[in-house]
Symmetry: C2
Subunit: 353 residues, 2 copies
Amino acid sequence: MATIKDVANRAEVSTATVSHVINKTKFVSQEVRDKVLNAIEETGYIPNNIARSLKVNQTKTIGLIVAYIENPIYSGVFREIEKYARNHGYSVLICNSNDDPDIEEEQIQLLLTNRVDGLIIVPSKNSKIPKKGLIPEGFPVCFLNRQLSGYSVPSVVIENKQASYEAVNHLIQKHNQKEVGIILGERHNQLSKERHEGYRLALLENSIEYNDDLVIEGYSTFQGGVSAVRDLASEGYFPDSVFITGTTMMLGFMFELKKMGISCPADISIIGFSDTNMSPLMDPPLSAVAQPINKLAERSVELLFEQIDGAKKGDLVEVLSCKVNYRMSCGCHWEPKFSQSNYDKFYESVYSE
Amino acid sequence: MATIKDVANRAEVSTATVSHVINKTKFVSQEVRDKVLNAIEETGYIPNNIARSLKVNQTKTIGLIVAYIENPIYSGVFREIEKYARNHGYSVLICNSNDDPDIEEEQIQLLLTNRVDGLIIVPSKNSKIPKKGLIPEGFPVCFLNRQLSGYSVPSVVIENKQASYEAVNHLIQKHNQKEVGIILGERHNQLSKERHEGYRLALLENSIEYNDDLVIEGYSTFQGGVSAVRDLASEGYFPDSVFITGTTMMLGFMFELKKMGISCPADISIIGFSDTNMSPLMDPPLSAVAQPINKLAERSVELLFEQIDGAKKGDLVEVLSCKVNYRMSCGCHWEPKFSQSNYDKFYESVYSE
DNA sequence: TTTCATCAGTTAAACGTTTAACTATCGTTC
DNA sequence: GAACGATAGTTAAACGTTTAACTGATGAAA
């Protein structure tokens, strides 16, 4: 493969001149420039970014580690991060940790060894990233969507409590629901705690007594959603509405509901967490909390870039608020209007094969 | 950041020795090795893969360009490719072309400049990758899922005709359907042509007359699926079954069906293309053609590695057969059995937040 | 005519590794 | 004790760039 030397020889100039025309770092006369450009054309020269990176000590690459690339949230986040990064002249090296702390650690190693300029990490659930030793002091890092305490690393997360409050409050105020249940993943989990808090707050503000029987752990599984329906039914009374804090559980819940002949939203109102592109197509179209994918991506990259540019961010936590999309599963009126919406465009492109 | 020199100084050995203990390329006495290992520990040395790549002239990185990372097929393919690559000591740089030929070209440039050792490309729909000039002669490349003719590049694709034949034949033979429709994307499109062929073959073999009124273009859109229902209904007769060759169209079709009060599978049997993890959760659980994601990923990486190791592959086309998963939408009997299946595991992990 | 700034290009060191070629030491063997 | 092979480490060039420092030519000002 041709090098800058080959180009220089062919154009009968020095490598410095070639470098300068490529990078526009110094004025080069039209005549010489043309010679160089021709030589590049003729030799099929492709600049070697590896050599460049070595010399300038930066790779213009950022590393991204996500738990599951197949989660629409993360594939969306990746798409946005990559777009944003590319617009700023950066590439992204992405790794899939499978939520495995060991793989996660290995991947951090790998990315550091490849000298990425910064790291955006969705920490794995049982992350054991050492507080020091693995990642050099002061290295640009940003946590995404999940925060880890005790690190001097900024994170950008979503406002779980507010989202939960909003959804539950909506059920109470707009649909006059008095018995609202909530299906959490695992109660002790940080995310669940925050969502639980928002739930309690909404009850409190509407002077509804808290009833722990209506709080169910679904362990984020389909089966958990199925069981939740049974649990609620066996309590003798069935709540008139429920806020389900996970997509999997929601699917299980809906599935079992249908099986038992309980109709939504007639018999029970539902709001889910994590609005996806499937939501409007469900039966009934699902009302759900939408995570601000774009903002999540944008802010994390920005926080990273600021660090790359030298700013210290400490353990700053940036909290992004969520929007709840109300469709039919909570009892709202909603029209699909697919023809004018962008669903079509989305599906056409994304699911076209 | 510490370099190999710092380590060498601290351990009071040469850089060559340090290199040898890191890479295990030469015997080093226990005593010296320990000194080096300690020095590495003490200096917090992280090997610089950039420098290494420059020297050994390979980056142990492969480039992957997909059309849409959010398409579950491609995020799945990516996950598998990354896993497979990592097991062979390779990283993967992935780019999202958005099916835009210009972005695609730019990204190929970028990856080449970053000296990836090989390239796996899902060509964009209107790909204008130049036959020569952009990618150096003999550079390891593999096309994935879509093939481009006229290039000396191997590809791995799925057997569309066979899949289509199988699905349609199933409708005819198992469910005794005489009028089977097919919804294609665009008729002139290569994929559609192949699927169309499989459809015709199935009819022919079962001595059913071909009727062009039952072949509908849905342009791979949700709206196209909606229209297809209306078109078929307006023909006066409604087919008893239909093979829908795209997820988006299938969603639109199902949506409109429900709206018109046509029941599936009682009134109409449906088989879709592209089985996803949503299929079993649909109402009714969807029968669909499943693309062999793992094989697709594995074979493409293998083909690439063989080229990296020096083999010439020409324009070899590797065709992978698909499996049709028969659930309820075609009229088959099917039991969810979620508790024992791996759906739960999948959803638990992937959609947990 | 001298001085000196500007211009357009060159020289060569440096980035952090790898690795072929080399060296010094120590046993063996005859 | 000479010759030699094995062992364990070192030396230094090379990979393909960038870029500070340098050079030589040109022309304007004093």
